[in-house]
Each structure stands twice: as structure tokens, then as C-alpha cells.
Amino acid sequence: MTLEQGIFILASLLMLGSALAMVTARSMFVAALWMIGTFAGVAVLFILLNAGFLGIVQILIYIGAIAVLILFAIMLTPDVMGLKPGPRYTGQWPLAAVMASTLAAVIVLLLVRAGNDWHIADAAPNVTDFAVQLGEAFMTTYLLPFEVASGVLLVALIGALVIVRDE
């Protein structure tokens, strides 16, 4: 087992553990904190795939911005301190169990089909200067998505402001 495989397994365990803790947490705030653990695991996976730029951006955006936004949103709810923890199971757990088992079965089937091919491939094997090439791509091949992205961000901003200011 190489070092990369070892780190991959560690990161995956971190992600899976955090995700499990997140969905079973009694308090919303603690659930959000476990979500941050999941984001960190995703960042490590990006770095392992030789896409360091995306890993850093993951930390910057998801942990630095989106997680903070979610934490603030949780703090605006009445039970901000988490002193009244939520119920452990909702009434729909049989349906959820069926769907989760189906999904698990599909994934296991895919893994079994993949066979013994377990090595990690680089997402961008021949890229030395990721940020530069990304910039060039933004300006040439992917210009329309670039500009549309700013439009989408504007719509999100205005929409969220409209919703929030109404309160």
C-alpha cells in the first residue's frame, strides 16, 4: 500500500465518519461542525488527485464561506444553543432505510464490477500550472460559463436579499 492509498483511506474514513456523525447529531450546530469535517476530507481528496487548486478553493469557499453561512443561519433559529436536542429518529425511517440500502447495493455492485483496479489516477496528470491554464480556459474556451457564472451569482445575491429583507 503506497502512502497515497493510505492517505486516501484516512481521508475517506474522516469523511464517512463526519457524515455519519452529522446525520445522527442531536444538535444542529454540532451537525454543521461535522459537515466541516466532511468538507476537509473532500479537500484532501482533491489534493490527492493532483488538483491542489481545487482543494484549496474547497477549503476557502466551503469551509471559509459556506460553512460560516450555515452556522450563522443556525444561530438565527430559536434553539441556538442546542439545549433542546432534536429527536433521534423521525417517523420515516423505514423508507429511508430502504432507499439507503438500494443505493448501497448499487455502489457495491459497481465496485465489484471494477475488479482489482484500485490505484488512484491523477485528475490532471499533465498539468503543471493549473491556475494559469484555468485562467486561459476561462477567457477563451469557457468564456460563456464564466460570464453566466457572474450572472448566477448576481441572481443568488438579489434573491437572497429579497427573501431576507422581507423578514
Binding site: 464561506a65 441556538v80 439545549l83 485562467g135 486561459e136 464564466f146 450572472g151 451569482l153 443568488a156 429583507r165
Partner: protein, 117 residues
């Protein structure tokens, strides 16, 4: 890849070192707990009411605008790095991009979303 390994080493030491310091402090300090010391602090009085406050939605608005601009920044950084290799059209495109978002900022300003009170 080696550079990220160094970052991993820093992360490890960065977690272990402060944790060791806290544990050291816990070992060295006295431990005489009593209910008054352990109660929540409120200017030396007993806590009044539940620990829940009506929060200003303003905190959320700031975090929201921050998310939007953070993503914009992430888009602008590759542009800045590749700027030297591209022509003037890169400037125009980035101007459009930034302009749209600055328009959003001005909208938020006019709607009073940027004011604290």
C-alpha cells in the same frame, strides 16, 4: 505533491502542539470545582432568562454577501494569473464579470443591506 506533504506535517504539528499545551495546562493547574465558579458568567449576576437572543438578521446578510464575493474572487484569481498571456479582451471580459457583481453590491447598498442597523 511533496509541498502538500509539508502542509500535512504542519497540520499535524499544528494540532498536536496546542493540544499538548492545553493538556499540560490541565495537568499543572489546580482543580477545585465549585458550582459558583462553574456557572455561566453574566456580569457577576445570576443568568436572566434562557440563553437565546433575537439575533439580528444582519449577520446572515453579511455572510451571504461574503459568500458571493468569495466565489467571485476565486474566479478572478486564475484570470489574474493568466492575464499576462492574454490580450486586451481578457480585460474586457473581466470587466463585465466584475461589473455585474459590483452592480449587485450597489443594489445591496441602496436596499440598506450593508448597514449594520
Amino acid at each position: 505533491m511533496r509541498e502538500y506533504a509539508v502542509l500535512g506535517a504542519f497540520l499535524l504539528v499544528g494540532i498536536v502542539l496546542p493540544a499538548a499545551v492545553v493538556i499540560g495546562g490541565w495537568l499543572l493547574g489546580p482543580k477545585r470545582a465549585n458550582p459558583v465558579k462553574n456557572s455561566t458568567y453574566e456580569c457577576g449576576l445570576e443568568t436572566v432568562g434562557e440563553t437565546w437572543i433575537q439575533f439580528k438578521v444582519q449577520y446572515y446578510v453579511y455572510a451571504l454577501i461574503f459568500v458571493i464575493f468569495d466565489i467571485e474572487v476565486v474566479y478572478l484569481y486564475p484570470w489574474a494569473v493568466a492575464y499576462n498571456r492574454l490580450g486586451l479582451f481578457a480585460l474586457v471580459e473581466a470587466l463585465i464579470f466584475a461589473g455585474i457583481l459590483v452592480a449587485g453590491l450597489f443594489y445591496a447598498w441602496r436596499k440598506g443591506a450593508l448597514a449594520w442597523f
